[in-house]
Symmetry: D3
Subunit: 146 residues, 6 copies
């Protein structure tokens, strides 16, 4: 689990989380939260006519669920530094089950008792297909400065 | 409003949306939706001791609210292509009011009747400070292929 | 309580319900449910500049909360027949506490084992002011046809 | 779209909105918001024995969703004036997709820089049947007084 | 209904409430409220491999829904005194319909104008099986001290 | 963390969780989920006149939040066996921050590859006062039978 101090990370470390099913209720609740009522998400009849053939989850619903799967010990992880190259590769349908796979791709020390760790961040569905990828960067505390 | 066909975009076009206040209820609901119960978001006592001095909104709550502010005519906008260089510049506190400012920064034609439009995407608070920025890319339909 | 058979109603009968406070969370949740994100309801800064000076509850949030206060024994009440002359008299602010007062104003027999009872339907705030009124008509079963 | 100043309305103008599917999650969330837990809405076994044969949406859930579909430019629309002759014509079942059709039926000038516009307000399901109708009146600003 | 003063209770009195269907949306909403995202509740793929073969409701979702079914006149019922021997006998699946059956099992007078009434508290599903039982104790006011 | 096999537990082991603030939004959402709209929870004016002087959280909201704080590795924890002697010692007000303290009080082996571990389960507020206690029993897998 990426639940450690900066010095304890190494490129190539990988973690796989438990899964969560994306339900119709999640899409409905996310529409309300984000005010995104695009018919691909909330209109069954419209979505049936689209190239997807059915309603799909909002991209940021999937991303938000995945960020909640990142273990984050507040003693070690100071902040989400940033997200790069976020791409939505495949639709997520109602009833799909997703999980998160993370791999350390780089580490950058800073002068302030912290360091940035970059992760390949992949959300994977029940058919083992990546639905969303990005480069996810966390600001981690150093053990030496605790 | 960025609610047009690909050919109608030009670099430098700008839009400013209406605002929305980020409430305690939004943070609570987003915690439940994302399973992100980090104490900076849900523990008033912990957050009071942090460098922020109070609870802050989740970064992806702010980003999700902002994506809901993007006007998206389903006839013209095909999909969210991707997000790059997403950075969280300032905390968003309970009661802050945010809005979205978008500016066209580039356009890339594709061979399939669509094109990608890149936007500078800035979420601004009530004190006119950017709290979150990124480069936001939408896949837009061409009018000529309708 | 208006929880009786058609024959048991008489003009002038009155009921007063318990109260419920309209919270910021209710407004947030109702925005999500109704997709009504008008800035008077969700933008604190905008609402501060309006003639109300602060955010107000959506009219149909107040009406929806009030309909939930109507006692409705499924054995006796068949359906909500209709609502007439619905007027929004005063704003409902965050933290206001509302209750419902109902008075029978008329009864119309039908040929099908049921009858319509009309009520003066008033939502009252903590300062004893009516915030919303209408004429509310329920389709009630007759005892004689049970 | 009824998103204009008072002087710009004319009897006979019509608008048709996009659709939205009424989900089980919407009914569950509306029960919680309104405290309306009538078994026709929340008890599958009870509803199966009713004349509807299944659970139905609350009438004010449908009405609330529809009001959220009314475009309302805060610069032009001052308030919801009132609703008359609200009737619930057909049940809305889980999975039905509804949209709103509005037609201007009348206009009444006022002396205060505003005017009332009356609309025939019809909620239509995926089989093109009206499920709910009313006369909906908005208080609109006049352009001349801006 | 257990909606009476202390002196009006007698061992053996029984009440049966109306039912409520436990939906996927209820489980999703309860996960968010409780932060209980155990895969038996939120991961369809995981639950399919478990001894239950499908997702199950959280035990305290069922218990919470049932406590909401207890009629509680604030004039007569002072507080929930306690719960003993709470056991979860059978899983509750998405779509199950539960109701509550209560029977007075004992009464204990106190010196302060109140008394404790103990109930056998059983949550029953649509197949008439108990899914949850406990001994539920309410602190009731005495009529004589009103 | 009580996140281990049956054989690894010993009486006296203790765990303390992170905290969570009980917000007005949590109470509102729990009312909707449980259908418990008792005026002590949802009517500010009523609650101001009660012996508590303000609204209080539902007992099972507090209990539900606390059960979500129990670490539960699905590989090791088979089920919640039961809860005994659940008592609500002090009110939880809006804005209170609670956490969970658990201590192993006993272990009972079973013949089926599992065992029951009993915990003293205490919910503690920001003033270090217990607001809710019970004896909480989990069905844990044995390592030897994996």
């Amino acid at each position: 689990m990426p639940d450690r101090y900066f010095e304890e990370f190494e490129p190539g470390q990988r973690w796989v989380t438990r899964g969560r099913t994306v339900t119709e209720a999640d899409i409905v609740n996310f529409s309300g939260l984000s005010s995104d009522f695009h018919p691909l998400h909330v209109d069954k009849a419209y979505a049936a006519q689209s190239r997807f053939g059915q309603r799909i989850a909002q991209g940021f619903l999937v991303m938000s669920m995945a960020t909640g799967m990142v273990p984050a010990d507040p003693e070690k992880c100071e902040a989400l530094y940033g997200v790069d190259k976020l791409r939505f590769l495949r639709p997520v349908f109602i009833g799909d089950t997703i999980h998160l796979e993370m791999e350390v791709t780089g580490m950058r020390e800073r002068n302030d008792g912290s360091g940035i760790v970059d992760f390949k961040f992949e959300v994977i569905n029940q058919d083992n297909q990546a639905v969303l990828v990005n480069s996810y960067s966390l600001l981690m505390r150093k053990r030496s400065t605790q």
